[in-house]
Structure formats: C-alpha cells, structure tokens
Amino acid sequence: MSTKLFTLALISALIVGLVGPAVMAADMKIGFMPMTLSNQYFQTMVEGAKKRASQLGVELSVQAPKSHSSVGAQLRIIENMITRGVDALCIVPASSTGLMSGLQKAQNAGIPVVNIDTQFSQKSIEGAGLNPIPYIGTDNYDGAKKAGNKALELLGGEGKVAILTGVPGQQNTRDRKNGFMDAVEGKLEIVATQTANWEVEEGYNVTQNILQANPDLGLIFASNDGMALGALRALKEAGKQDEIELIGYDAIPAALESVKAGGIDADVAQFPAEMGKGGVTMAYQMASGESIAVNHHRNTPTKLITQDNVDAMINYLENYSG
C-alpha cells in the first residue's frame, strides 16, 4: 500500500519539481510551433523568436512534435495552445495542405496566425474558407536555384546528380526540388530523386543505396542539412568524399562546421532566426490589433555558403545558439 502511494507521489513530485518553475505570467502569450525541435534549424528559429519575445516583453510558449511529419500532433498542439489562451500563434506546418482544421479552430477562437518557413497552400486556405494568413520565410525555389547553379559550377557543366528531397506534400519539398531541377535541367543528368523526410538517418541510408546504384555519381543535392549530414556519413564510409560533391540547404551550425572542414562543399543558408523574430513581431502586432496587409508575404534572404564565407556565417549564428 505505502509503496503504491509512494509511487503516485513520486509521479507528482517528479512533475512538480522539474516543471513547476516554467509557469509564469505575462500580459501577452504567443504560441510558437515549429515543425519539430529535433533539428538545429528550428532550434535557431526558436532562439530568434525567444530573443524578440523578451524584447517585446511577451511570454513565448514553444511546443513541437517529435519528427518532421506529425500533422496530427501539430493539430493537438494548436488545440492545446488555444486552450492555454495564447493571443497569437506562429506555425511552421508539417503539411502545407493538412492543417486546415487547426487553422479553422484558431480562426474560430479569434487567434491570429502567422505562417513561418513552410508555406500553407493558398488553394487549401481558400478552399477551407479561411482568412488569408501572412507568411514569412525563404523563397525556397530561388534558394534551390542557387544550389543548382553552384552544382553546374562544381561539375563544370556535366555529370550525374542525385537529389534528396524532404517530406512529401510540403511546399518546401516541392520548391527546393523544382528550383534545383530547373537550374540544372538539360545540363546535368538527374539519376535519382529520393525522399529522406528531412531526417539525418534516412539521408544516410538513402545515400548508401544511391551510391550502390550509381557508382559514377558526381554530386548530391541534399535539400536540407540533416539529410546532407547523413549523406556525408555515407560518402565518407564509401571513401567517395573527394569524388562526389555535396550541397546542403539551411546552414545549420553542424553543417557549417562541415563546410569549414571541407566535408560539405556548399550550403544554401536560410535565416531561420530572422523568421522567428519576424514571426513573433508580426504575431505581436496582430494580437495588439494592428492591421497587417492581408496577403502579407515577406521573404527572408538566402545566401550561398562555401569555405570562403563560412566563418562569417558561423559568427552570425553564434548569436542564436541556445
């Protein structure tokens, strides 16, 4: 009996002791939901958001699913954020078309939403009869084109390339694939286009398989850095690191270290911290009743990073290491 009561007490004590201090009060609460937190890219975004939130004196509540593709978990988080009484929501959706019921709930509750990084499909938003949602993020098509042009330069205009794509159904996945393909089309031969769902482990496995099938591969474009790091491991293991060029996307700290060390050859930098900051600012403005242009659409820049300019980027990112 006492052991059992003790066990129950232990559960409670564990929860109270470790999380109790997290509860605090502020006038305005903004909910911030990245696709996941198990990716440095989103951690950097959250750091930017936190900085801006503390400047504005608002409470930021950050919640995210375990992996990059959990639409169901994101819907649950939106519902719980609404219950928690947030005044505005910043969302990086795990699907461009699949979170409409969550947006509907936020709209019904009168909570403004800012769309960050991965854009909601305008068609889906209109189809669901929702109000337009402002967006802040990278023009991924354009960023991927930079990667494609760099690929042409690295290969001298000819060779075989493979593309690692992200979670199917996300706008980013499409834009990055298409941007790269349009830049290299007719010049380079695309021998493989495989999804690795933005994950390191899958990037590793898929690259191993691609290398098996295409021993004369010239370049891999991994459309995010997680997958690029996985691909790099596979290249190293196969002893092909010097033969095969590798381009990543996002410029997360781990990938930049690799660019510096000569592992990843080039990387398209995004500026997630700016997205996090801009998102919180806009959420703050909307929750305070300022009107935002209905079709507000702001692109944060992209920049091609190579060994020449990697140090500056690393220094910049150090401002946002958690």
Binding site: T7, I11, Q63, G72, E79, N80, T97, P168
Partner: protein
C-alpha cells in the same frame, strides 16, 4: 454498491482501482497546475485528442489478451487513410468510402490473423512484416503524396456536436460499450482470455483456438480502420505519414490499463483510462508549457510506473 465498497479495505481499493486513482491523481494535479485545464471545453479536447488511440487500443487490448501483439495498426491507419482519401476524391459517396475503408482495415487484420493462426507464426514477426507492407502500400497508393481537398461534408464525421458533446466522445462511448458487452457477456470474451491464459488448456477444453486468435486480429484491423477514418476526418486530410507510432501508443494504453503482455488478463475499461491518461498528460503538460522533449520523458516514466504498480498489485 455500498455493501461492496465496505467490504474493501483501502488496500484492496487501491489494488483494484490503481489505474483510476492514478488517473485521478494526474487529473487533479493538472487542475492545480494550469488555470486553463479544468473547463468543459478542455476536458472534451482531451477526450477527442485521445479518441483515435482509444479506439485503436480496443483491438490491441483484445489481441494482447490472447497473448499476441499487433504492431501493424499504425501502418494500417496510414494505408486506410490514403485509400479513404483517394476513394473520397474518386468520387465515391462518403458513406461507401467510409464503409470500404473500415472493411480494408478489417481485411488486413484478417490476413494477419490467418497467417498467424494457420501458419503457426509468431504475431510479433507477422505484424512487424505487415507494418512495413501496409506502410509501403500507403506510400505507393498516391506516390507518397497526401490527399487534400477532401469533399465537403466529410469532416462532419469529426466536427459534429451532439447537444454540445463532440461526436468523437460518442464514438468512444459506443465502441467501448459494445465491446464491453461482447467481452464480458459473450463467450467470445471468455475464450479470448482463456487462450491468453493457457492456450493448451483452452484447446483441450474444446475452444477453436485458431478461429478465436484470427478473430482477435480481425478486431485489431477493424478498430485500426475505424481509427483511420476518425483521424482522416479530424485532419480533413489523408497522408501516408499518419499513424506512425500509433501501435506503441495503443500498446501503452492497454498496458497502462492493466492488460498483461503475457496474455490472459485485460480490461477494456482500463484501456480507455490508459488512453485518456496518455492524452491528459500530453494536454496538461502542453498547457503548463513543459518542453516537448521533457514531456516524452514524463510519459515514458508514467508507463513504466503504471506497469510497476500493476506488478505489485498482482503479487
């Protein structure tokens, strides 16, 4: 009732109702920790958020009670979800698409059961294989792409209210009531526990073990199919990536609710409380703004503690 209660010492009370007391403790804890927790709307939220797992966990509880395990239910959710999405935009009438979807889930369960029973194979291996097959099939059906813009009216399956009560709450109550009666009043229930308790003895006493075992997996597939329809309607969106990890949540709900992985012992009332406990933790911890990493640690701890308490009380 009062007479029965007085017969119990507090000790027995805790033994018999450990999971319910644990659930209440967690619930009360959140009431104090988060001002937004205790409202009718949030309580409905918790039930709705737990309902897909609660439904899938019915089938899982039955399978585990026979001493088996069904690892394929999460992938079956993905498969049924995409199939349903494609049928809906084909466009099949909503009623037919839903009926075929549930049938598809049931059929996968039947295949599992037949291979396991008549091929004399371990359920762990067969359903592990089916997990991969169903996932692959889900991805193949629409080339890995999700199916969005489902027809108007389909999401009514999820968004309808009955006198202010979300319809998912009604589904859960109806499904559990029916299965409670079948498992407790019908001989099928006795056979299921008999097989899980001692398969040899069950066979000797004339129970058709193969048939009952197959039936248990049919239930596994049936409820995965129903869960898939609910999830798809809730999201109004069908994706082959849905359902991943659901098998583990369903197993956790059953085990927290007192179902023994060794078979022979299980209660679906415990299971629904198990599913609600998991849902309450995810909800309450989010309301308290606990980091999503730490939430996983807490939930894992609760699962281990629940089984630990269960082990104590069965000694």
């Amino acid at each position: 009732m009062t007479k029965e209660l007085t017969e119990y010492l507090p000790n027995d009370l805790l033994e018999k109702y450990g999971i319910y007391i644990g659930f209440l403790a967690v619930f009360v804890f959140f009431c104090f920790m988060s001002p937004n927790f205790l409202s009718q709307r949030n309580v409905f939220n918790i039930i709705v958020q737990s309902s897909v797992i609660a439904i899938i966990a019915i089938g899982e509880t039955i399978v585990i009670s026979t001493g088996g395990i069904d690892l394929s239910v999460g992938s079956v959710v993905a498969l049924v979800s995409v199939a349903l999405g494609l049928m809906l935009i084909s466009p099949l009438p909503i009623f037919l698409a839903v009926a075929f979807s549930i049938l598809l889930g049931t059929a996968v369960g039947l295949v599992n059961g037949l291979i396991i029973s008549y091929g004399n194979m371990p359920s762990f291996i067969v359903t592990l294989g089916m997990m991969s097959i169903a996932k692959g099939a889900a991805l193949m059906l629409n080339g890995g792409q999700p199916v969005a813009s489902l027809p108007m009216g389909f999401d009514k399956i999820a968004t309808t209210d009955i006198f202010g009560v979300p319809i998912f709450v009604v589904y859960v109550i109806v499904a559990y009531s029916i299965m409670f009666i079948i498992l407790n009043k019908h001989k099928l229930g006795r056979y299921i526990y008999a097989i899980g308790d001692n398969e040899g003895a069950a066979r000797l006493s004339g129970i058709n073990v193969k048939k009952i075992r197959t039936t248990s997996f049919v239930f596994g597939g049936l409820f995965a199919g129903i869960g898939a329809v609910m999830l798809t309607a809730r999201l109004n969106y069908a994706t082959p990536l849905s359902g991943s990890g659901f098998e583990l949540d369903a197993i956790a709900a059953a085990v927290i609710g007192g179902t023994a992985l060794s078979g022979g012992k299980g209660s679906i009332v415990g299971t629904v409380v198990g599913a609600l406990l998991l849902g309450t933790l995810k909800n309450g911890l989010t309301l308290m703004n606990v980091s999503s990493f730490f939430q996983q640690v807490i939930i894992g701890t609760v699962i281990i503690l629940a089984v630990f308490v269960d082990k104590l009380r069965s000694q």
